[in-house]
Symmetry: C2
Subunit: 328 residues, 2 copies
């Protein structure tokens, strides 16, 4: 009988659900969010995800930042669907020894994360646990036709992202390994980890154009998320532009690292990865820019179910790996 | 600065929310469930609560039973509001070393808990944690006028419960302290702990009569929950009938315990405690019985804000204590 650490998250979910009765829902089980029909065209959209202190809070992150992040990582999944969160519920596991001021900080961080994206914390529950556990649930509403899925990408669609990559992987290296780098690049890299942003405005703007054929956030890493889209949509991708943040490039050159490696397999980076019907490209780009964000073309969707990376004129391999819980 | 273990759950929640922006919602913050208005009269009702292996899973409880309980304890709060759950989301924290078969058992238990009450598990998330953590979120819908609150009890209202008390406190003693008792009483007492039932049918039936003035479940103990109603409704109670399960009475006589003590301060017992406008008493009782349950009058609501226990002709004190997290 295999123990959990040899399984990986996908296999754990497959085993968990192997004897469950899974109903037909407007969004398939295992997608980033769940949905239930309220009436003909109106859906209640739900998401739950848990922050665990031991694995999700790097050194240097305050409790306020951790609590904010617990909300933001859920909002990012809503962003990928173009759904605005309305309400946040929080179930807390709090370790003994936590001080009054630390509890207050957690409350502040939760409020901050919710209010930043227009939602409110409306309830929750507290418990005693060994780890710090911040389990957030989000509720929002969506018209059925506006809800973006993962399986609609078609050959010829443009692949685009909402920002540059590599910052959180570099920032995590700095925080976890205690590396010293000049503040000018160290500060923005650490900030990317400590104060992540969900691309909600961008996701909402994109979902309204009608040209979005599939969407996912990059929280498990750019490479991993591209493979998720490949699986769900049964297509492939040629990626010929990988926007790496200049701070990540500088950091890589100091430590002799490959900036593409940081960008592809980093994880905890909350950009959106989307495919767009080319007829809607100009409109999509304009609409994201109008929302205050940016949309960067990184490649094209292909029929052949594989991912080809053409970077700096060279073809590189892209592995199916990223951040997956349980794997050692 | 006080550490969490000297605070108690109520104070922890007060500190957590001290710098939060709490919006006006159809149900006040801190009630058993939360609600958001969807349209004029239709509410989305939400609840989240976490089962922590270390504190909520007694010896002898299987993982399947633990997972089922994680759902049932949330359903019980929906029951107190008369709301049927539609969807369950689950966020799991799983410790290393967990076996494939154990993961499958958790999935089965979650499905069992949901299906027993007409709901489905529609999504979730898995994480690595030190403790077993099963954080469930429930979604349901309710007409605004059907949603029962805690603050409507009026002097003269009948106080009633949906079943007998004392079984889970006795069952927990058997499981935790390893006591030996004859199977005839030991089995039902352990069963009360291992396979708790939420009084959903009863709660839904009661909410439809229109005579329910306040309601709560007894998961924190009968005494504690009565004090919660007292606070919220600003009334008092005379309790002159405390239905104790016969197995709890027998268990008490074997071990020289006070069966009322087990019934008042036990906790984890998922009966409903309700107040009912006396004009609706007969109809309420009939309607609960028609749903397959029972409704037992235990006393009356009074103007004076205190709880008087008149049991076996004697007046007894009733303390404000029960199961509260964090307190040692």
């Amino acid at each position: 009988m295999r123990p959990i650490e040899s399984l990986g998250e996908k296999e754990v979910i497959r085993i968990l659900t192997s004897r469950m009765e899974i109903p037909e829902t407007p969004i398939p089980f295992g997608d980033d969010v769940s949905a239930i029909r309220i009436e003909r065209n109106l859906l209640a959209v739900l998401k739950t995800d848990m922050l665990v202190g031991r694995t999700d809070v790097p050194p240097g992150m305050s409790l306020r930042q951790a609590a904010r992040k617990a909300v933001v990582m859920n909002v990012s999944d809503f962003a990928s669907k173009g759904v605005e969160p309305v309400a946040v519920l929080v179930s807390l596991g709090l370790p003994k020894g936590l001080k009054e001021e630390e509890i207050r900080e957690i409350g502040e961080g939760l409020n901050e994360g919710a209010r930043e994206y227009g939602a409110y914390v409306i309830g929750g529950d507290t418990n005693e646990a060994s780890d710090l556990i911040i389990s957030c649930s989000l509720l929002g509403f969506s018209d059925k036709e506006n809800l973006v899925n993962r399986f609609g990408a078609k050959p010829g669609d443009i692949v685009a992202v909402t920002g540059e990559f590599g910052k959180t992987a570099a920032g995590l290296k700095i925080l976890i390994e205690g590396l010293t780098v000049p503040d000018k690049i160290g500060n923005p890299l650490k900030e990317a980890v400590l104060m992540p942003k969900a691309r909600l405005k961008e996701g909402v703007a994109l979902s309204k154009t009608g040209g979005l054929t599939s969407s996912i956030d990059s929280s498990d890493g750019l490479a991993w998320s591209l493979y998720e889209l490949l699986d769900a949509s049964n297509v492939g991708f040629i990626i010929d532009n990988l926007p790496v943040a200049k701070e990540a490039v500088e950091f890589s050159s100091i430590y002799g690292l490959d900036p593409y490696e940081l960008s592809l397999y980093g994880g905890e980076e909350y950009e959106l990865i989307v495919t767009i019907d080319p007829d809607f490209w100009e409109e999509s780009k304009r609409s994201v820019e109008k929302s205050g964000g940016s949309l960067i073309k990184i490649g094209v969707t292909t029929k052949e179910k594989k991912i080809v990376l053409k970077l700096d004129g060279e073809i590189r391999g892209i592995e199916r790996r990223g951040w997956e819980h349980f794997r050692i």
